[in-house]
């Protein structure tokens, strides 16, 4: 039967090929980008969400400022200058002669609208997360100047401006949009079963991009995305698995994500020796170049080196199973239940080969006598474990997490995870709380120093986690085009950076 079907397939295929219209015939300056998942929406106020930003941010909807992918310094975009007026008010100068795709002028009114919409409780804009617990009020100074007041005052206001997407004032204020209108170099064209299409904005204020239009298609299989570029059906395959990255076309890049295992500090994990033993018995280097990319970096803290507050003096844990055993022996002698079976909870879909990695770790630990049971969870279930309020009878376990802080400052990571009132904090230590609070209030070198100290205390004295890696992603880029991924490419892929050879 299969034989018959195959030969039929051949016949049908031969007959149909003549009128098949594959992507590569669209023209030299059209792009097709294969993404792993279709986004839920593409609203300009949800751009920090995975899968949305990569399409919308700076392509369709531009933000007031942007962050440099390499060192996270704040760069002007729609805002040309900003100045702290004190009292939490910042005066922002806006770019002139900019219009939205729908013809509306970009001005202070428009920015006020975008901020109102973003902070409105009529829609739940997810970019609000980045300005959590901050009240923003705007005052239009003139056509191209706006005062933005933050309560409490925000030292990082220029960074916050990079989360504020300028959507057209005609955007509905009470519902999430599936057809965003911004000022970017590309305008939204259509969203149908083929994918999401954008075309070049002829009236763009800045330099005209090389690509005339782009089609985003969604293919969950990494191998399929990679094959599409190989076959010329796509120009960029986003986020492919290491094992599929086998050609010259594949670019590796630090993707801004950091993984760790969070330890729930209940017995036996309430004992520092046991937590240390977990770190010592994990041979981090063994995974690099096999299951993980050889370019993955060992993490010593939960933020990347480029982030302000990263402590460069911290050393990765050595692989020392003997010492781990000794520590465990010691703890066991003190009555710590070190033999208790602990859950190792992974969340499906963080990155390729993740379950394999956890299995290897499980085996490494079992070699020093640690008893860990791996559980892979679907996200909703996993989420029940990670957020406060925690249940009364919480047990010790290890929870895999992945976190990206591409916002240039450690504060976006520290309070939430390590301060007593952080929603995902596992401990309450006054010294750490104070360091984080002081750091958040400080500026300049003092801020950096305080955050570095906080990270040192956490990593060396408290050991609340098994830090793992700063992660690598792969992107397959067609030889027909030229694009060099950067550390933001996973969440923000500027089509304007693509050039044709």
């Amino acid at each position: 039967m299969d034989r018959i079907m195959n030969s039929t397939a051949f016949a049908v295929a031969a007959a149909v090929l003549s009128f098949a219209a594959p992507a590569w015939s669209q023209g030299d300056t059209s792009l097709t980008i294969a993404l792993p998942a279709e986004p839920a929406d593409i609203d300009g106020c949800n751009t920090t969400v995975t899968g949305i930003g990569v399409i919308v941010k700076e392509n369709i909807v531009e933000t007031l400022t942007t962050l440099d992918p390499d060192d996270s310094t704040v760069q002007p975009r729609l805002a040309t200058a900003w100045e702290d007026l004190g009292d939490g008010t910042w005066r922002v100068s806006l770019r002139e002669n900019v219009t939205f795709h729908d013809g509306a002028p970009f001005n202070a009114e428009a920015v006020a609208f975008a901020i109102d919409r973003l902070t409105s409780d009529a829609i739940a804009c997810r970019d609000r997360t980045k300005i959590a617990n901050v009240e923003l009020t705007t005052t239009v100074v003139d056509e191209h100047t706006i005062d933005i007041h933050a309560e409490p005052a925000q030292i990082l206001m220029p960074t916050l401006l990079s989360f504020i997407g300028a959507v057209s004032p005609n955007t509905p204020a009470d519902e999430i949009s599936r057809a965003p209108v911004g000022t970017g170099p590309f305008r939204f064209e259509s969203w149908d079963s083929e994918g999401i299409a954008v075309t070049r904005n002829a009236d763009y204020w800045g330099e005209e991009p090389a690509a005339t239009d782009a089609l985003y298609v969604f293919r969950p299989e990494s191998a399929l995305r990679a094959a599409m570029v190989e076959l010329g059906e796509a120009d960029i395959a986003h986020d492919i698995a290491p094992q599929d990255a086998t050609t010259e076309m594949d670019h590796a890049f630090l993707n801004g994500e950091t993984t760790r295992l969070r330890m729930v500090m209940e017995p036996p994990l309430d004992d520092l020796r046991v937590r240390k033993a977990f770190n010592l018995a994990f041979d981090r280097n063994a995974l690099i170049g096999s299951i993980l990319s050889d370019r993955a970096e060992l993490a010593t803290q939960f933020i990347l080196p480029k982030i302000d507050g990263h402590n460069p003096d911290l050393e990765p844990w050595p692989y020392d199973p003997e010492q781990a055993k000794a520590l465990l022996e010691e703890a066991r002698a003190d009555g710590v239940p070190v033999d208790k079976e602990l859950r190792l909870v992974g969340r499906i879909g963080f990155f390729p080969n993740q379950e394999e990695m956890l299995q290897v770790m499980q085996q490494m630990w079992s070699q020093v006598g640690l008893n860990v049971r791996l559980e892979m969870m679907e996200s909703a279930e996993w989420l029940k474990l990670v957020n406060k309020p925690y249940p009364e009878d919480r047990e010790a376990m290890l929870i895999q997490e992945q976190h990206d802080n591409n916002n240039g400052d450690a504060s976006f990571t520290m309070r939430f995870r390590f301060h007593s009132d952080g929603r995902q904090s596992e401990f309450s230590i006054p010294e750490v709380d104070k360091l984080i609070e002081d750091a958040e209030a400080a500026t300049g070198e003092e801020r950096t120093r305080l955050f570095q100290e906080a990270n040192r205390v956490i990593s060396e004295e408290i050991v609340p986690s098994v830090y793992m890696y700063h992660m690598i992603s792969y992107m397959r880029v067609s030889p027909e085009i030229s694009y060099e991924p950067n550390s933001l490419s996973l969440i923000q892929l500027e089509l304007a950076d693509v050039t044709f050879d």
């Binding site: 039967m1 409780d121 009529a122 997810r126 599936r178 995902q424």
Partner: protein, 305 residues
């Protein structure tokens, strides 16, 4: 006949109602969608706004009453993910799925009828044995495995068809074939055994006594009689595809109901789940109904019940 139709439709309406009520409560047992939608570090105010906007702050009975009220006007509510009416989303995805089901089951039927008839003509012949083994194999292969291997062989290596997408006819070939393999495997076996029994029936003797040629006996006399069980199984398989060709739709980027439904389930997009279940159930009802009509066309004895 009218009585039968009315009775059947009424019962189906009862089932459908039971189904959506069941889905409503079962879906809500799988937890709140809030955490899935908002970033992990979302502030409390955002969470509250989100719940209020989507009505999750209301007591469950209130949500249920509102849901029932909406049902009266075929309003399943807005999709949580996409902010458009849930029913609209489902109806937009339905044609793709229905076409996939139609093409692949159609293909499976053709393969099954030809192979089954030829195998039944000489049971236990070499052809029969090979066809049986291959059909068993077809029925035992994992779908996603076939899909990916199919892409690797036919799209990547041989470059006969594009890997994925829905735009052109060529892009339908691979998914349709992948979906057809399992049903074809099952149907070949059903077709074979019902053809064997049809070929041994008395009316075939009559046809031989009339001087009818073998092809006429197989394809005109026996085939139509042997079609009933084949149609039943084909209907079940088609229902299976309508109910969830998830893997194939996902891999090939086909925006069908299966993919929509599974995404909605994973993201706790209750409105879409409810609308999706309802619409697929209606589609399956119509399918079964169509099968009854096909039955009546094929076999006059089943008419007039």
């Amino acid at each position: 006949m009218t009585y039968y139709l009315t009775k059947r439709t009424l019962w189906s309406a009862v089932s459908l109602f039971g189904l959506v009520v069941f889905v409503f409560f079962m879906a809500r047992l799988t937890g709140s969608p809030v955490d899935l939608y908002l970033p992990i570090d979302a502030p409390e105010s955002l969470r509250e706004d989100f719940e209020r906007i989507h009505g999750f702050d209301l007591p469950l009975w209130q949500q249920f009453v509102d849901f029932l009220g909406g049902l009266l006007t075929f309003d399943f509510g807005q999709s949580l993910r996409q902010g458009v009416p849930a029913l609209e989303l489902v109806l937009r995805a339905m044609p793709t799925t229905l076409l996939l089901a139609l093409y692949s089951i159609g293909l499976a039927l053709i393969v099954a009828i030809v192979t089954g008839a030829l195998a039944a003509w000489r049971p236990n012949s070499i052809f029969d044995r090979i066809a049986t083994l291959l059909s068993l194999l077809g029925a035992s292969l994992p779908n996603f495995w076939v899909a990916i291997v199919g892409v690797l062989i036919f799209a990547v290596t041989l470059r006969w068809v594009p890997t994925s997408g829905t735009g052109s006819v060529a892009q339908w070939i691979l998914p349709v074939f992948v979906l057809a393999i399992r049903p074809a495997g099952l149907l070949v076996q059903v077709a074979r055994s019902s053809m064997i029994s049809a070929l041994s029936s008395a009316y075939v003797k009559t046809a031989q006594a009339k001087g009818a040629a073998p092809a006429r006996i197989i394809f005109i006399h026996a085939l139509r009689n042997a079609m009933l069980p084949v149609i039943t199984v084909a209907g079940d398989q088609a229902a299976g595809i309508i109910n969830g060709a998830v893997i194939v739709e996902t891999i090939f980027g086909f925006p069908g109901v299966g993919k929509l439904l599974i995404d909605s389930i994973m993201f706790r997009d209750f409105a879409v789940v409810q609308a999706g279940v309802m619409v697929t159930a209606v589609a399956i009802f119509i399918l079964n109904f169509t099968i009854d009509i096909v039955y009546a066309v094929l076999d006059p004895r089943t008419r007039g019940h």
